[in-house]
């Protein structure tokens, strides 16, 4: 039975690694292999969720590498495995036969496998392993079309940003060790001693916030849109961004123990939910809109972790996974067919491809929090917990929910508009569209949208209680009826208003809209504040290294010779004064040492005599 959890992570990781390394030879069987592996993984995940295996082997001295499926993990492994399967299924239609499908499928499997490792890990070490591999794989997936430099740059940004945050986990691991948690087991982390506890918490918080694209790291998610749609679907739903939320949910006891972790996290989540929601509203690109909405929705999960609502957060995570994957797949279907993801160009897209349109709309309605769909209840579950903590949090969350309704309705409104005459002129901006949605994509869309709907059942009190028991942590509070009604009314009102408003001008200054549209220009800020200074520092140091340090250090022993020659030749590189001085000095000393050798004997005599006199005086007077 213990082997189950090994298999669970080994199947996707192993298959993925092999597929990714086969090169072009593996392109043909890749989709089939991928789907098979994903299906097996799903089966294993279900089995594991039922049997709850736990294994552990030694990793480092005193540190075990453990994998286990407990309640929280059980929910997540199934979610991850399921979403992966559907996304892979969908992707068979997204890629043409001549594209490197083996690499894609392999990387996707590794990506999912890494997420599985992350969610089953029992210790910080293994968790970090999965965490980092996921980040690296995301780089490879976002930069999948490597011939186009802007995509690779986007991948770089995404990877570096998340890795910057990942440093938090390294810090946390060290702090845990120093704080007396020699095993690095997640369950023991709350017992760390002060002040390491603070460092540990800070590390975890930074890592999770970064991975989940919360403020202020949210900008990488925008760049992550450069990858294929299936990648976005997976990355935004059950993996990667979800990992941050998962980590916070998992380490909720730590946040609680630290004293300051909970409010910080809760407010970060709430703020992200609201602000990124506004960002989403300001987008004119469908995928960008969805990306911003991801940040915002994950914000609710983070809020839940901060507020102590682990169960609510988990529900939100699962429901959002289904919803968001459906939305991205729908967007991907249109992208494949029409070659665009710009909102204005997508007018009428739903009418042209009705199945996609319907599934998209269902998912968008879920996102908007329309009852009785899943996110309505999960969000309220989160907000209910928040309300117990602070009214401000609740209000912010509610506002964020309203914003969510606005941007969801906006997207749905656009795709259902009648197709304009010159619709085709806006298409094919990304690549040449196929004008049809691949047959393979349809079942995936339907299932995922269906799941988004059905998961509303989580809100039914018995189910909710069962889930809470399953997860077994956090507070047990369910939203009261008035809360549910209030949020439903607000969502519906906002959505209707948005639908009615259409694309008429918004009474918001253009600058603000543009600012929001560019994700508040955080990337530019990071560029200005971090990247540029680093590069400047690097160049300065390199110049210092080449011109000063190297030369100065080297010219002491190696002396004149080559440097002098360099000076003679007119200096290929600007040799500064110090160097010249040293070179001349060495040369001068050499010449000076040879000067006594005049060849004139009488001078030898005089020098020897004088030197001996000096030596004699020296010996007489120095004791």
């Amino acid at each position: 039975m213990e082997a189950l959890v090994w298999l669970l992570v080994a199947v996707p990781l192993g298959t993925g690694a092999v597929l990714a390394c086969t090169g072009r030879r593996g392109d043909r069987p890749a989709p089939a292999v991928g789907i098979t592996a994903a299906s097996v993984t799903l089966v294993l995940a279900v089995l594991a969720a039922m049997s709850r295996p736990a294994v552990s082997v030694p990793l480092f001295a005193g540190i075990e590498a453990g994998l286990a499926v407990d309640g929280l993990s059980a929910v997540l492994v199934i979610t991850v495995a399921a979403v992966t399967l559907f996304v892979l299924w969908f992707s068979t239609g997204e890629f043409a036969a001549d594209e490197p499908r083996a690499r894609f499928t392999g990387l996707m499997l590794v990506f999912a496998g890494a997420m599985l490792v992350t969610v089953t890990a029992t210790g910080l070490g293994v968790l970090l392993m999965g965490w980092e591999v996921m980040g690296a794989t995301s780089w490879a997936l976002i930069g999948f079309w490597w011939r186009e430099p802007h995509r690779v740059r986007a991948a770089d940004v995404a990877f570096l940003t998340t890795r910057a945050a990942d440093l938090g986990l390294y810090l946390a691991a060290g702090a845990a060790l120093a704080g007396g948690v020699g095993s690095l087991a997640l369950t023991e982390l709350p017992q760390a001693s002060q002040p390491w506890m603070a460092v540990l918490t800070a590390g975890v918080v930074v890592a999770a916030v970064g991975k989940s694209a919360q403020l202020p790291f949210h900008f990488w998610l925008s760049r992550a849109m450069e990858g294929p749609s299936s990648v976005s679907a997976l990355l935004h739903s059950a993996t990667m961004v979800a990992a941050g939320g998962y980590l916070l949910l998992r380490l909720q006891p730590l946040l609680a123990a630290s004293g300051w972790g909970e409010p910080v996290i809760a407010w970060t989540g709430a703020a992200t939910a609201l602000v990124l929601g506004l960002v989403a509203v300001a987008q004119s690109d469908l995928k960008q809109l969805l990306a911003a909405s991801t940040s915002a929705q994950i914000g609710f999960i983070v809020l839940a972790a901060g507020a102590g609502g682990v169960a609510g957060g988990t529900m939100q995570l699962v429901a959002h996974a289904a919803t968001k994957s459906a939305l991205f797949l729908a967007a991907g279907a249109w992208l494949t067919a029409l070659g665009t993801k710009a909102l204005p160009a997508l007018r009428g897209a739903a009418r042209r491809h009705r199945l996609v349109g319907v599934t998209f709309t269902v998912a968008a309605a879920t996102l908007a929090g329309v009852p009785p769909l899943s996110l309505w209840v999960t969000k309220d579950a989160v907000l209910a917990t928040a309300l117990k903590g602070s009214l401000g949090l609740y209000a912010t969350g509610l506002a964020a929910a309203v914003v969510a309704a606005v941007y969801s309705a906006k997207a749905a409104w656009v795709v259902w508009q009648p197709e304009p005459e010159d619709a085709e002129s806006g298409w094919d901006t990304e690549h040449a569209g196929t004008r049809e949605v691949p047959a393979f994509a349809r079942p995936a869309l339907v299932v995922l949208a269906g799941a988004a709907t059905v998961l509303g059942a989580l809100g039914v009190p018995p189910v909710a209680r069962a889930l809470q028991a399953l997860i077994g942590v956090g507070s047990h509070s369910l939203p009261k009826a008035w809360e549910l009604v209030l949020s439903a009314v607000l969502a519906l009102t906002a959505a209707s208003a948005t639908w009615w408003w259409g694309d008429r001008a918004v009474p918001v200054p253009l600058a603000a809209r543009r600012w929001l549209g560019q994700w508040m220009r955080f990337e530019r800020l990071a560029e200005l504040l971090v990247v540029r200074p680093t590069m400047t520092l690097a160049r300065t140091l390199a110049a210092f290294d080449d011109r000063v340090l190297d030369r100065v250090v080297m010219s002491v022993p190696a002396a004149g010779m080559w440097l002098a020659r360099l000076v003679d030749r007119g200096a290929e590189t600007p040799v500064d004064g110090v160097v010249r001085l040293v070179a001349q000095g060495a040369r001068g000393l050499g010449t000076l040492a040879r000067r006594p050798q005049t060849g004139q004997l009488h001078q030898y005599y005089a020098q020897a005599a004088a030197a001996l006199v000096v030596l004699a005086l020296f010996l007489v007077f120095v004791r």
Partner: protein, 101 residues
Amino acid sequence: MSLELFLVIGAGLLAIGLFGALTQQSVVMLMMGLELMLNGVIVAAAAFWYYVAPGTADGQVLIVVVITAMAVEMAMGFAVVTAIFRARDVDMTDMAADLKE
């Protein structure tokens, strides 16, 4: 007081000889300077023997050694001068200065 007298004479001869050795261009004259220096050494050696350690013959042997050294140096000097005179037709040190930096 008397030891000092002899020593000063010795020192004087040594200094004169050194001056000669340093200033003379001609090798033979230069050798004369060296001889004079040894001359001073003889005075000093004899004085030391008499005033400091007359009990042993070391001082006397020292003078013998000095005299022998004088002879040896002279003989070698003349031989070397002859050799270089034959080879280059010079007997002055200034003109034998090809070996240098």
